[in-house]
């Protein structure tokens, strides 16, 4: 088992490097020239050629674009064409990819193409909001999904099972962004019911007392959390149902009934407790998935989270921001999968490496 866990952690590294290569390949092919933008922005018409060159190299250095792109590059002929046989040139460790990747691991995400400030400043507060709404939504989804799943597994084929199954199934096909638009339209606009704010996360500033601010923020988050919750709901309820059906068919449940235990005690204490663990490990898998799904909800409700930041970055051509968020999302789901896999192995050591590694 220890061998499996170590191998699983070891596999994390090539995947991480693979992801970083994909993201870097994309980021180095983006259109537009960030330097020209900044050169035009602080244009001084009486500038000498030397000072212009100096300014240019300063901006280049600021954005870390003065280094060669990768560990090795291709040399060109003198006339600008490529030679028949590749003329490889070793760039050493001072290249854009190396400094970007290792800077990333240290928490330095580079400078924004929009305002040349470090991206990190904007990311951390966005990360907090994204985590807050997603974790709250998943907890809520668990709270609703567990009773539904347990009771429908208790009597498979009963009316309750069929009705909840059908409703969950219909809910599953409703696009989240459609529901969000409808909710804003009917519950957050002056034309219909004005019960909730249409967007943002707060309307009171820091001067107000804590409880007032708390109520204000939770007021803003009702609709977005609802939209994220219902997406996760179907998936969790189905998993609960499946794993409960599995457990309720085991012999020890029959034994418990034969002992004359109360029905509810058998259901919750014997059945549910045993299916609880896989459900908890599932949390690590669901969190990255919902964060990916909450991108569009954040944009619609103007929540200053990661998804909205990436979307804004896309329109501002702020590539370091967009690709940092992409990379962070990927790392998050990698870690989530890793935690889920390892905790699953700890709970059930029978699972062999070859079965679980893929």
């Amino acid at each position: 088992m220890l061998r499996y866990i170590l191998l699983r952690i070891f596999y994390f590294i090539p995947t991480l490097i693979g992801i970083s290569l994909v993201v870097f390949l994309l980021s180095s092919n983006t259109p537009g020239d960030p330097i020209e933008k900044f050169m035009i922005e602080d244009l001084d018409s009486f500038e000498s050629f030397e000072s212009r060159q100096k300014r240019r190299s300063e901006i280049l250095k600021d954005l870390k674009l003065d280094q060669p792109v990768f560990y090795f590059g291709l040399n060109k002929n003198e006339d600008g064409s490529y030679p028949i046989f590749p003329n490889l040139k070793w760039n050493g460790l001072k290249n854009q990819y190396h400094s970007w990747f290792f800077g990333f691991l240290k928490g330095d995400f580079g400078n924004s193409y929009f305002d040349r400030q470090p991206v990190t400043n904007r990311i951390w507060s966005a990360l907090q909001w994204t985590f807050l709404i997603n974790i709250l939504s998943i907890l809520l989804a668990y709270l609703i999904a567990i009773p539904i799943g347990v009771f429908s597994a208790n009597k498979v084929g009963s009316r309750f099972d069929k009705v909840t199954g059908f409703i969950l199934y219909i809910i599953y096909a409703i696009p989240a962004f459609w529901l969000a638009t409808l909710l804003i339209m009917f519950f957050a606009s002056s034309d219909w019911l004005y019960w909730f704010p249409a967007g943002g996360v707060r309307s009171l500033d820091d001067g107000f007392p804590f409880w007032q601010r708390f109520r204000d923020v939770s007021w803003h988050l009702v609709l977005p959390i609802f939209c994220i919750t219902y997406v996760a709901l179907t998936f969790i309820a189905r998993q609960v149902r499946a794993s409960m059906i599995d457990n309720l068919n085991q012999d020890y449940i029959k034994t418990a009934y034969a002992k004359g235990l109360d029905k509810n005690v058998v259901l919750w204490k014997h059945g549910f407790r045993n299916s609880l663990f896989p459900l908890l490990t599932m949390f690590a898998n669901i969190l990255p998935a919902t964060i990916g799904g909450s991108v569009i909800i954040e944009i619609i409700f103007s929540i200053p989270g990661m998804g909205r930041l990436a979307y804004e970055g896309l329109f501002q051509q702020d590539w370091p921001l967009v690709f940092t968020i992409t990379m962070l999302g990927a790392i998050l789901s990698l870690i989530g999968n890793l935690i889920a896999d390892i905790s699953y192995t700890l709970a059930d050591p029978r699972v062999s490496f070859s079965k679980r590694v893929n």
Partner: protein, 412 residues
């Protein structure tokens, strides 16, 4: 010779769908959407199907098709006027005389129940109108075409990738493909050299097609050459020791890399590097992102199949492993993959709708369901702009999801 009685295949996928009522409903919905998509131009168009003007006969819709193919010039009886202002002697209008983009400035943001000022005999904006008086129903009709086109074509791309990679990973596993170290040693530099030549050759061609074709053939040829050369060398040098190529491991790592990046963020990153987004680029991007689920399903199917008797017996008969794979294992895994493709179409349609809702992905002229929904955000009182396109997305997604669900249930 005795005649073998024909046995009706009661378990064919079509029959399974016909037997359950929800299967029939989703099949009907899908067929309806297909019909609308195919005949969209004849259902809703600002041009008439057939008209006579000053003694001359025109077929404007067919004419625009011919013009699109480059056969005919665009005909217009009176260039100074809009189609609907021209007086014809004889005319057949489509059911809905508006295209998705036709502006009708007299009816801006009209609800379905409101009274509209329209020329008599013309469509009455049955589902309301949006900004600039664009007809909602016409938008939905033309959006159907984009949605189905993206959903199905992107899944064709995804299926090609998924079936190929998933099949390789599942059938050959980590230990079935054995090649000598010499092959690997020669393959690595030659494929790198081939890609370098493909890269520099692209500077000599102007057309993208020639660049792609010539580049790929150089790459393919250099790989083929290195493999053939290695084969010869192995015989000459009598190298017999083989290394197992961990195909399964490599492909599953690739899938993990793609799956780890959250879907919409990966699409954002891919859209960032494209200058002019169009339906075609959207199809390719979605296809390249969504093949992993098909590959995983295919792999699981192959793992089961390769232990089954007929595949084993093909091997015993002495067929090469590649031949067994291509002509025995692969065809039998294809039908179950239809299940994932049905789910995949639903999710591709959803992705297209959400991207165009965020005004990413398709160009401004193309009318899509998601784009119509985004109009609703500009004017919250216009409920018809949110309800009807959303319902179209919902029914389409529901139908394809249900198709996959029913097929999956019957299989187990």
């Amino acid at each position: 010779m005795e005649k073998i009685p024909e046995i009706e295949n009661t378990n064919s996928y079509f029959n399974i769908l016909k037997r359950s009522s929800s299967g029939r409903i989703s099949l009907a919905i899908i067929i309806m959407f297909f019909m609308v998509a195919i005949f969209a131009d004849f259902i809703s168009n600002e041009k008439p199907i057939y008209c006579v003007h000053e003694g001359e006969t025109y077929y404007p819709i067919f004419n625009s098709y011919a013009n699109g193919l480059g056969i005919a010039d665009l005909q217009h009886p009176d260039y100074t006027k809009e189609w609907r202002d021209i007086k014809f002697e004889k005319v057949w209008w489509p059911v809905l005389p508006y295209s998705g983009y036709t502006a009708d400035l007299k009816n801006i943001f009209k609800s379905p129940f409101e009274k509209k000022t329209v020329i008599k005999g013309f469509g009455n904006h049955p589902l309301g109108s949006s900004a600039l008086g664009k007809d909602v129903l016409a938008g939905i009709v033309h959006g159907t075409r984009v949605a189905l086109l993206v959903g199905i074509c992107s899944m064709i791309i995804a299926a090609l990738f998924g079936i190929f990679f998933g099949g390789l990973a599942g059938y050959f596993g980590d230990d079935k493909v054995k090649i000598s170290w010499l092959h690997i040693c020669l393959l690595m530099p030659f494929s790198l050299l081939g890609s370098y030549w493909a890269y520099i050759s692209s500077y000599h061609f102007d057309s993208a097609f020639l660049q792609l074709f010539f580049g790929k053939s150089i790459l393919f040829f250099s790989i083929f050459f290195s493999m053939a050369f290695a084969e010869r060398l192995c015989i000459i040098l009598k190298i017999k020791k083989n290394i197992a190529l961990p195909l399964d491991l490599l492909i599953m790592r690739l899938i993990e890399v793609i799956n780890s990046i959250p879907g919409l963020l990966l699409l954002f990153a891919l859209l960032a590097i494209i200058d002019t987004p169009s339906v075609l680029t959207l199809i390719i991007i979605i296809g390249l992102v969504r093949w992993t689920s098909i590959a995983r399903f295919m792999r699981a199917e192959m793992l089961k199949l390769r232990e089954i008797a007929f595949v084993q017996s093909a091997k015993v008969l002495g067929l090469s492993s590649l031949r067994t794979f291509l002509s025995h294992a692969l065809p039998n895994a294809l039908t179950p993959v239809l299940i994932t493709i049905a789910f995949g179409i639903a999710s591709a349609i959803l992705i297209e709708a959400s991207l165009s809702f965020l005004s990413l992905g398709v160009s401004d002229e193309t009318m899509t369901w998601g784009k119509m929904l985004s109009y609703a955000r500009q004017k919250p009182s216009a409920w018809w702009l949110a309800i009807f396109p959303g319902l179209a997305i919902f029914f389409c997604v529901y139908a394809f999801n249900n198709l996959g669900e029913i097929l999956g249930q019957k299989r187990n």
